[in-house]
């Protein structure tokens, strides 16, 4: 036990003497939590739209002004030819071109229906899709308004209308920050747990001190625990710093169930530290470790449900996500911070992440060899 205390002392001294680690621990969470949630959300704004209005009627002008006044669009300009509109898309001046045909108003009044052409630049798929969806929304509303204008009496209504109203539970304003912040917090914990611990061990390999440890009577578990415990504690520091920032900047109040988050994070950090250790056993230089860690982080983050819901991924990706510890952390963070989940609510997650922890750490200790 005394040996272990000396090992811990040494690890903490090295961590607190390294300015890079300290910066990573305090500045990274601040920057990520303050800047990212405002920038990286799903709302697409500033969609550039070009308008071709051949009709110049009351109705067409109403439609155009509705689009112009929407917060999502920025007008590229008006033109008279579809060709020029396409050229705008080609030159990336416009993401979307809407063409209102000749006699739009007249056709609409005579035949009760009219066509509008929408050309979308789908190179950026998300932007294109959302742009189209927004435009359709506006056109639909426009439609409805016309209907209301024309058929005041319900019996003249040619189609039954279903008006859907909805309530957003847990995040009433459907605020993306509220949704993103817990996710980013989860990713931060992963970076600290997985990256720093792996780099730390590989550094000992690189400078050769690990050899000195391997000829000493130090036990495998002492060495590994000596690496796990400091980063495990650091993880809690980051979590706390992160929660404070979330509260100050985004007004996220964790509520009385905050201990649930700490209980789960304790297990999660254990699992992800095991992953870091495993990684360090199979790499010899810090560059290698960084590259491999980066590879896994990319997959972990993209398949974590942070940006895209796991339920809408193809089945094979859902299987991969099931083996992705980060997805459980992201989910639990959101459950606790937005819904106030209890231990009972996250019990399945706890069980899974516990198994992750045991398996990863077992292989980490198993694959760490003092001799080769």
């Amino acid at each position: 036990m005394t040996t272990f205390i000396f090992i811990l002392k040494k690890e903490f001294r090295q961590i607190f003497r390294d300015p890079a680690i300290l910066r990573l621990i305090f500045i990274m969470p601040m920057l990520q939590l303050i800047v990212l949630p405002f920038a990286a959300d799903y709302e697409i704004k500033n969609i550039k739209i070009g308008i071709i209005d051949h009709d110049h009627s009351d109705y067409s002008r109403t439609l155009v002004s509705k689009i112009e006044n929407s917060a999502y669009f920025r007008l590229t300009g008006y033109t008279h030819t579809f060709k020029e509109g396409l050229q705008w898309i080609e030159d990336e001046k416009a993401d979307l071109v809407i063409e209102i045909p000749h006699r739009f108003e007249a056709t609409l009044i005579r035949e009760s229906k009219a066509d509008v052409l929408l050309a979308i630049n789908a190179v950026n798929g998300t932007k294109g899709n959302l742009g189209a969806a927004y435009t359709l929304g506006i056109i639909q509303q426009f439609n409805q308004n016309i209907r209301v204008e024309w058929f005041q009496m319900p019996e003249f209504n040619p189609e039954p209308m279903i008006d859907v109203t909805y309530t957003s539970l847990y995040n009433p304003h459907r605020n993306y920050q509220l949704f993103m912040v817990p996710g980013i917090l989860a990713v931060l914990l992963t970076m600290v747990g997985g990256f720093l611990s792996a780099l730390n061990i590989v550094k000992e390999k690189e400078i050769g001190t690990i050899e000195q440890l391997n000829v000493s009577p130090i036990k495998k578990y002492q060495f590994i625990m000596g690496k796990i415990v400091p980063f495990w504690l650091l993880g809690f520091v980051i979590l706390t710093v992160g929660l404070v920032i979330s509260f100050i900047v985004h007004g996220i109040v964790p509520g009385s169930n905050i201990y649930v988050l700490y209980v789960f994070s304790a297990l999660y950090l254990f699992a992800i530290l095991g992953f870091g250790l495993l990684l360090s056993n199979f790499t010899n230089t810090q560059q290698q470790a960084m590259m491999v860690a980066f590879f896994f982080m990319l997959i972990f983050i993209l398949l974590s449900g942070l940006y895209t819901p796991i339920e809408s991924m193809p089945p094979w990706a859902q299987v991969v996500a099931a083996f992705n510890p980060v997805s459980y952390m992201v989910e639990v963070m959101r459950m606790v911070l937005l819904k106030g989940a209890t231990i009972k609510d996250i019990w399945p997650h706890i069980r899974i992440i516990f198994v992750f922890g045991v398996v990863l750490n077992f292989f980490a200790i198993y694959s760490y060899n003092k001799t080769n």
């Binding site: 205390i5 000396f6 002392k9 050769g208 001190t209 000195q212 000829v215």
Partner: protein, 248 residues
């Protein structure tokens, strides 16, 4: 196996794939002896030492270190040996006393023992004033002397030194060897690899390795007599010239 020997190796072999790094070497080292292991780069010195310290498993052969079998009792061996590797093994981002404390602690010394040993060690190295200096800020020669002193802080029976004086100036090398002599006088067996022939002269006995085999093993004076020359350089050169492999 006589208890007068602190290291006994019998046909010790290490093969990496097709490559026989160490080829059936047999030798023994007496207690308190300064035993030099000479050879060109790639001759197999370091591999041999790494087998004896338990860092790698031999392919075949037998050996005991401090009376313990290197195959089955490597943990006991680790308690009884010190080791200083080619790579500098102290933590540059820890202070002098912090390094001493850590390595002392690894060998189960308590705080009191460590403090006492630290004071003695620093006094001997005339580093008392530098106790709070980061090891990375010390000149190389001081670092090497400190590393050696720390490698024997737990009073091991044997200390293995792998090219300990690489890159160090002649004056510091001399001081370094004085430390080695002092340790030997206290009964610590010294097993040292080197390719400096002047250092070979400091050893009581040397073994010269060529291509993974021990080609000659004796006291430096006798080797010189057998090869009818008056310098170890000459002995080494004649043996090493036969080598088929150079740097791996």
């Amino acid at each position: 196996m006589s208890s007068n020997y602190s290291i006994v190796a019998n046909q010790l072999t290490k093969i990496f794939g097709e490559f026989k790094a160490v080829d059936e070497i047999s030798f023994h080292v007496e207690k308190g002896e300064i035993f030099g292991f000479l050879g060109a780069n790639g001759a197999g010195k370091t591999t041999a030492m790494r087998m004896l310290t338990g860092l790698i498993k031999p392919t075949s052969g037998k050996a005991t270190v401090a009376g313990f079998d290197i195959f089955t009792e490597s943990e006991q061996i680790k308690r009884n040996i010190g080791y200083m590797s080619q790579k500098f093994s102290l933590y540059q981002d820890l202070k002098v006393w912090e390094n001493i404390e850590f390595y002392g602690g690894l060998y189960g010394m308590n705080k009191k023992e460590i403090n006492k040993a630290t004071a003695e060690l620093l006094e001997k190295l005339e580093l008392t004033k530098e106790i709070n200096v980061l090891v990375g800020d010390l000149p190389l020669g001081w670092k090497q002397k400190l590393a050696f002193s720390i490698s024997i802080i737990h009073k091991p029976k044997i200390v293995f030194l792998d090219e300990p004086t690489g890159g160090v100036d002649p004056v510091t090398r001399r001081q370094f060897w004085n430390l080695i002599y002092e340790a030997a006088e206290r009964g610590i067996t010294i097993f040292v690899t080197t390719h400096y022939m002047d250092e070979a002269e400091y050893c009581q006995r040397v073994a010269i390795m060529v291509d993974g085999k021990i080609e000659a093993m004796d006291e430096p004076a006798r080797l010189k007599r057998d090869f009818k020359t008056n310098s170890m350089d000459d002995v080494f050169y004649r043996l090493a010239r036969q080598a088929k492999r150079s740097d791996p």
